[in-house]
Structure formats: structure tokens, C-alpha cells
């Protein structure tokens, strides 16, 4: 019974929850602003993509840790 696998799975699950929630909020704000001011849609889209990639970057830190846990436990 290796708890490393369980830890990796639970960690990945919590990370996905956090990242999904964060990017969801970001997308909601961006879409609302694009609805209010369609002329700024291009700028908003660029900033949204950049912010989403940064948030995903943080989520990937935890993915790397989960992968390390898995490979260590294997």
C-alpha cells in the first residue's frame, strides 16, 4: 500500500479544482467586459489569454510535484 499514489491523485484533483475555478472567474470577468465594450475585445482577449496561461503555470507546478510523487513511489 503506497500512499504516494493516493497523495498524487488527491493533489492533482485539488489543483484542477483551484485552477478551473480561477480561470473560470477570469473568463467571466473578461466576457462581461467584452460585452460592455465590444471595441476593447481584442485587448481584453489578449490579456485574458496571458492571465490564463499564468494561472495554468501555477497549476502545472503542482502537476510536476504530483508526477514526481508518482515516479518516486513507483
Amino acid at each position: 500500500m503506497d500512499l504516494g499514489f493516493l497523495a498524487a491523485g488527491v493533489g492533482a484533483g485539488i489543483t484542477v479544482f483551484g485552477a478551473g475555478f480561477g480561470i473560470g472567474k477570469l473568463a467571466a470577468a473578461a466576457l462581461e467586459s467584452m460585452g460592455r465594450q465590444p471595441e476593447a475585445a481584442g485587448d481584453l482577449r489578449t490579456s485574458m489569454v496571458i492571465a490564463a496561461a499564468l494561472i495554468e503555470g501555477v497549476a502545472f507546478f503542482s502537476l510536476v510535484i504530483c508526477l514526481l510523487l508518482t515516479m518516486k513511489s513507483a
Partner: protein
Amino acid sequence: MAEHEATHEAVQEAAGHGAEQFDFVHMFHHLEDQVVIPLPAVQVGGLTVDLSITKAVLMLWTSGLLSLALFGLVARRLSRSDVPRGGLTNLFEAMILFVRNEMVYDLMGKETGRKFTPYFLTLFFFILFCNLLGLVPFMFTATAQVAVTGGLALLTFLLVQGSGIKEQGLGTYLRNLVPPGLPVFLVPIMIPIEIVGHLIKPFALTIRLFANMTAGHVVILSMFGLIFLFRTLAVVVPAIAFVLFISMLELFVAFLQTYIFVFLSILFVNMAVHPEH
């Protein structure tokens, strides 16, 4: 690596001789580097450097040579005439102008941008070709190795520090480490924080690019692994459809991560060269 082999054998034994069990550790072999031409290791002052030609090294060379050949061709065609030049030239001219105008000049201004445009263009297309080569069958993603992305982030780090010191002089640059107008007793606390802040940014660049490239491949391999796990024909079509979808996503991620890496590099160099208080 020895642990993988031990577990693999243990699982084979437990499953009984002849019946193969699917163990996921086998999947990681596809993510690891494979040696193509083994060369002897060299001792460089205490460190043992293994100079074997691996698949990642081949991919790095391919990306570099491809960039050289392609952009040599594009530059020759562009300098020759102003009239319609054909699809390839137009495509790369559009991308080069995008990186130069919307990214470098937009963030850094035209005068400083002029000095740094060659580096950022090279960085952009090198990372892009490395990422895209990983999607070709039988090739390997060089940027899915931490060493490669770490090296690229190290280059950016050196550029940031070097251009900051060159622009402001060593003394002023070190003094700008702490924000001005700070009470004196806070300075010893701020200095380590600022240094760590400077170091964590290339580290984040490394991990972001590496993890994005690796994660796509891990998902694709897991989907293929499902076929081996269930061993029914009914799983094949949905699995392949999902793999197709994930490959499309990976294509998008290849471009996006290149853009993010270069965008953040430009931001960091800009912050070093134009310190805004």
C-alpha cells in the same frame, strides 16, 4: 530508473508468467530521453558530463538548423523583391512582424526594442519549432526536458541581469534592488526577498514550459494506455478520438506557451532596462 525496472519486474511476476499486466510506469519510458549515439562522459572540474547524443540533442539541432535554413530562405526572398512572394515568405513575415511589432515594440518601445528584437525573434522561433517537432511522429519534444527549458530561462535571466547592469551601472542596479523611500530597518529583509524574486521568475518560466509540454504527452499516453488496459475493440474509437482532440489542444498549447515565454522574457528585460518606480 532502477526503481521502475524493479517494480516492472515485480508486477510481471505477480501477474504470472506470460500474462502481461499493464503498469503505468511503462508509459513513462516514452517521456524519457533515449540515447542515440553513446559517447564517453567527460570530467569538467568535478562534474561528470555525459556527452552522449540523445534524441533531445538531435531535436535541438534540428530546430536550430531548421530555423537557420528557413529564415535564410525567407530573408533572401524578402530582400529580393517587393512584389507578391508566395505563401511561405508571407507566413513567416507575418509571424516575424507580429513578434516584433505587437510584442517587442509594444512593450519596450521602439528604441530599446531595436536592440533586443534579434534575441526575442530567435527565442520565439527556436521554442516554437522545438514544441512543434514534438508533435511529429517518431520525433521528440526537446522542450519537454527540464534541462532545455532551464537553459532557455537561464539565457533570459542572464540577459535581464546583464542588460540591467549595462543600462544602469552596477551600483545603481544593486541599489534599485530595494524600492526607494523604504525605512532603513526594512532593507535587510527586502534584499533577500528581492533576490529570491529575481530568481523565481526564470524558474517559473522553466517549469511552465516544461510542464505544459510534458502534460500533453502524458494525457495522450494515458489515453493510449486505456486501450491496453481494457483490451476491447469498443474502447479504440473513443480513445483515438480523444487523442485527436488532445493533439489539437497540444498544437494550440505549443503556440501559446511560446508566446507566453517570450512575452514574459520581454517583460522582465523591460523591467530591468526601464526601472519604473
